[in-house]
C-alpha cells in the first residue's frame, strides 16, 4: 500500500477495537466494544463493510472459527492485525500527534 493511503475515521475505530479485543475480535464483539467505548450504536453490516475494506487493503486477515449452538450453529470469523495494518494505524497516530503538537484548543479558537 502506498503511504498516501490514510485510514478513514471509522476504519480507525474498527482497527483500534480489533487490537483491543486481541483473540476475541469478531463482528458482534467489536460492535459491542464500539458501543461501550464510544456510545455509537452501529449496524453490524457497517462493521463488516469496514472489515472487508481493510482486509482488501491487506491490513488485516481473518480466520473462520467453529460453529456454536448459541449462534444457531453458525461459525464466527476472527480478525487479526497484519503488519501493513499495524503501520497504517501507527501512521494515523503519528499524524494526529503532529497535528495536535503545540496546539491549545480552547473556547477562543472558534471566534
Amino acid at each position: 500500500m502506498s503511504p498516501r493511503d490514510y485510514l478513514g475515521e471509522f476504519e480507525q475505530v474498527v482497527l483500534l477495537t480489533l487490537v483491543r479485543l486481541k483473540d476475541n475480535a469478531y463482528g458482534m464483539a467489536m460492535r459491542q466494544e464500539i458501543a461501550d467505548r464510544t456510545g455509537r450504536d452501529v449496524g453490524i453490516g457497517s462493521i463488516y463493510s469496514a472489515l472487508d475494506r481493510l482486509e482488501a487493503k491487506g491490513y488485516i486477515s481473518s480466520l473462520l472459527g467453529d460453529p456454536t449452538p448459541e449462534r444457531g450453529g453458525r461459525a464466527k470469523r476472527y480478525y487479526r492485525l497484519e503488519r501493513a495494518g499495524f503501520r497504517a494505524i501507527k501512521r494515523a497516530q503519528e499524524m494526529q500527534a503532529q497535528l495536535w503538537d503545540g496546539l491549545v484548543l480552547d473556547e477562543g479558537a472558534f471566534r
Binding site: M28, V42, I44, G45, Y48, D52, T68, R74, A75, K76
Partner: protein, 903 residues
Amino acid sequence: MKRWEGPPRLAEFLLILSLPSRYREQQLGDLSEAFFTLQEQQGRPKARRWYCRQILKSVIPNLRLRMRGSHRRVQNTKRHHVIDTLFGDLSHAVRGHLNRPGFAAVAVVTLALGIGANAAIFSVVNGVLLRQLQLENPQRLVDVEVSSGIGGGSDFSLVSEPEYLDLGHQIGSFAQVAAYRGSEVTIGDSSSTRRVRVLKASAELLPLLGVEPLLGRYFTLDEDRPGAEQFPDVGSVLVLGYEMWHTDFGGDPGVIGRRIVAGDQSVTIVGVMPDGFEFPDAGWQAWTPLQLDRTDPWYRNNHYLSVVGRLAPEASIEEAQNEVDILAARSTADHSEYYPDPGCRFRLRPFQSRVVGSIATPLYVLMGAVGFVLLTACVNLANLLLARGEARKREIAIRHAVGASRIRVARLLLIESLLLAAVGGAVGLIVADLGVDALLALAPAGLPRLNNIGVDNTVLVFSTAIAVATGLTFGLLPALRSASVSPADSLKRGGRAFSGDRAGNIVRRVLVSSQVALAVLLVVGAGLMARTVLEMYGVDTGFDTTGIAKFRLHPSGAKYDTPQSGVTLYGEIINRIERLPGVAAASATSSPPLSELGWGRISIVIEGRPAVSIGETPAERVEHITPGYLETIGITLVRGRAFTNADDINSLPVVVINESMASAHWPNEDPIGKRFRVHGDGAPFMEVVGVVRDVRHLAVNQEPSARWYVPHAQAYESAYTSPLSMALLVRSETDIDAMIPTLLEAVRTVDGSLAISRVLTLDQVFSGALKSERFVAILLVLFGAMALVLAAVGVYGVISYAVSQRTHEIGIRMALGAKGSSVLVHVMCEGLRLTAVGVVLGLLAALVLSRVLSSMVFGIDPTDPATYAGVAVALCLVALLASLIPARRASGVSPLLALREET
C-alpha cells in the same frame, strides 16, 4: 401452534438477500448470538426490535459489500456478455440506484412505509376476517337471533328457551341447533379462588361444530338435564379448554375423571378441547352443560340464550330463513301475549359475521385507506421517475443509438422500478412485522380472534403481490414514455428540452391532481374520525370517572345462602372501605357504567294502568345499588331524594328513576310519589322517591335510555332478587391507583375467600370504551398525514420541474419588464390551479365514500361541511407552501443568465 423462538425470520431473510454469501455465516451467527443474549436479558419484544433495527442499518452497507464483490468478479473473468442478460440489467439497476442514493432512498422509504402499512393492516384483516374458523365447514353455521317486539323494540337479540326448543324441533333446514350462554364461575375452594369464563352449552354444541375433544369426551344429553348433578353416577361435568388444561393442570393427561370445585359444587372433568378451539370467540376457558329443562322451559319473555344452527345438507340459509319466518308467524299467533306488534321475528346470519361483528367495517375502511396511501405513493414515484426520465433522455438516446431496442430500454427501466419495489417491499415486511405489534397494542380489547394475527404466508404472498403491482404501477408509464423517445431528437437537443414536453407535462399534472384528490379523501376521513373521538371525549356521560376504582366481587352462594346475608356482606365491606383514610365515598352496583352488559329490562306494572298481557307491559332496565352510589359516581339528583341506609327490608319499598323513564311514563306529571311494581304476582308496589339525570350507561355514543334504581337491601322483596355479585365503586381523594391494593386488602379482611375480578379505574373503563374509535382515528390520521406529505411533495415536484423547464421563458419575461413578484404569483397560481382540480375531485369522492363511515362517526354528520371546508383549505395551503419554494426560485431568475444559457 408453537411459537418461533429465534430471531424474526422475515428480517433474517432480508439480511440473507442483502448479504454476499462469503459474509452470510458470520454475520447471521453474530446477530443471532446477540439476539439470544438480549432476549434472555430484556425479553423478546425488545430483542426483536433491536434485531430489526440492526438489519435495517446493515442493508445499505451489505449491499455495498455485495457490489464490491461483484465488481471484483466481473474484472476477474471479463465476462462482458453478462451485461446482455437479465442479471446484467439487474446489477446495472442496482448500481444505477446506488449512484443516485437520494432518489433510491426516497423511493425505498416511501414504498417501505406504503407496503408495510398495507401488509400490517392486511395481517389484521387476514387474521380477523379472512381466515376460516377452526371448525368443520364453518360456512354452514348460522347464528339465530329473535325480535319479540316487547317494549316496542325491533332489535334482534337473544333467544328464549321455548323459542330455542321450537327451532330444534320444527326447522327442517337445520341439521342441529345448539344453545349457549356465557358465565363466570369461581374455581377452587376457600383457600385459593379464581374466576374462570365458562360457556354453558347444550349437549348438541360440539357434535354440531364437528370438533372432537383432544382427551376424554364432550358431555352427553343425560348430563345436560336440570338436576343431573343429583345423580351420583352422572354428576356435574366440565370440559377444559386447552389453555386452562395447561395453566391449571400442567397439561396432565390424567386429568380426566378428576373432581374440582367450581361454583360451589364438585364437578368432574370429562374432556379437554384441542389447542386453538375457540367458541363462540376467544377467551372461554371451559364448557359445562347448560342444563335447561326441555320438558318445562322458562317463559317466552326471558331472552337469554345464544343459538347456533348447522344447516342440513342441501339446505341454504334462505330456505332456513323462510322456514323460521313461518315458525315466527305461528308463534306470534299462538302466544300473542308474548309477542306484541310487530310480533315475533327471527334473523339468521352466517356465524362468522357474528364473530367478527362490528369490527369488520372499520377494518375494511382502514384497508381501503391504506390502499389509497400506497396509490398516492405510487403516483409520487411515477412522477419522480417521469422527471428523471426527462433528465436521462440523453442516456436513453445513446442506448438507442448504440443499438438497444426499445424493448430492452423499457425492460431496463422497468427492472429499475421493480428493484425499488422489491427492496421497498422487503423493508416493508419488517415495517409490517413491527407495525402489527403496534396495531395490536392499539387495538380495541374486543378485537376477535386476536391469536390469529401475525405476518404469515398469506401476508407474505399479499405483500409480494402488492410490491410487484406497485413496481408496475409506478414504473410502466415512465418506462413506456422513455422508451418511445426518438433518439435523433434528443441528441439534437443536447438532452435539454427547450420548453418542456407537452404530453409529459399533462401526464404529470393529471397524476398530481389525482394525488391531491386521494389526499383530500383520506384527510376528510381522518378529520371525521378525529372529530368523532373528540366529540366522544367531550360528551356529557352524566357520571364522573376521575379518582374512581371499580372491581367486581363474587361471593359464594353456598356461604351467603340467604338474600339478607348478601346484603349484610356488602354493608360490612362498604363500611370498612369508607373508614379507610383517603376514601371519599364507596358503594356497590349490579352494573357499573360502560363495562358489563349488566341487567336487562324488567317488565313493570304501573299503578292504575293494568296490563292485559306481559307483552303489553313496559320493560325497563334496572340497576341494584347501595346508598351512596349516586354520590360515589357523581350522578345528579334532580328531584326528591337518594336512598339512605334506612331504606331496608323493613321499610316501604322505594325506587329512584332517571329523567328518560320519568318522561316516558309520567310525561307532564310529577313522578315523585308514583308507584309501580315488577310483573308477577305478589310483588309490592315501589314508590318513586327521586329522579336523577340520565347517564350514558351502555356506550358513550349511545343515547341514554330509561332506567330505574332499586336499593340492594330491598330488591329481593321488591324486584325479584338482590344480586350476590356486585361491582364495588370507590371514589378517592388521593391517587386512586395507589389505593387499589389497600381496597382489595380491606375486602379480604371481611371475607378472604371472595373472588375479585375486573379491577380497573373508571378512567381506564372510559378510555377502553373509546378504543375502537380511537384506533380507527389514529390510523386514519396517520394515513391522512402520509398522503398529505406525499401530495405536497408531488405538487412541489411538478411545479419545480415546470419552473426549471421555463427558466428561459421567465428570463425573457423579466427582461421585458415583468416584476419578480408577478412571476411569483404566477407560479403559485399554477400550483393552486393544479391543487384545486384535485381538491374538487377529492371532495366529491369523499362525499360518496363517507357513507361507509356513517356507522362509526358520532356527534357529527359524515358530510359535515366544516370538516370538508377545513380539509379543502388545508390542502390548498399545503399546495401553496409546496409551490412557494420553486416560485421564489423563479422570481429570482436573472434575465441575463437565463438568456445567456441559450447560446
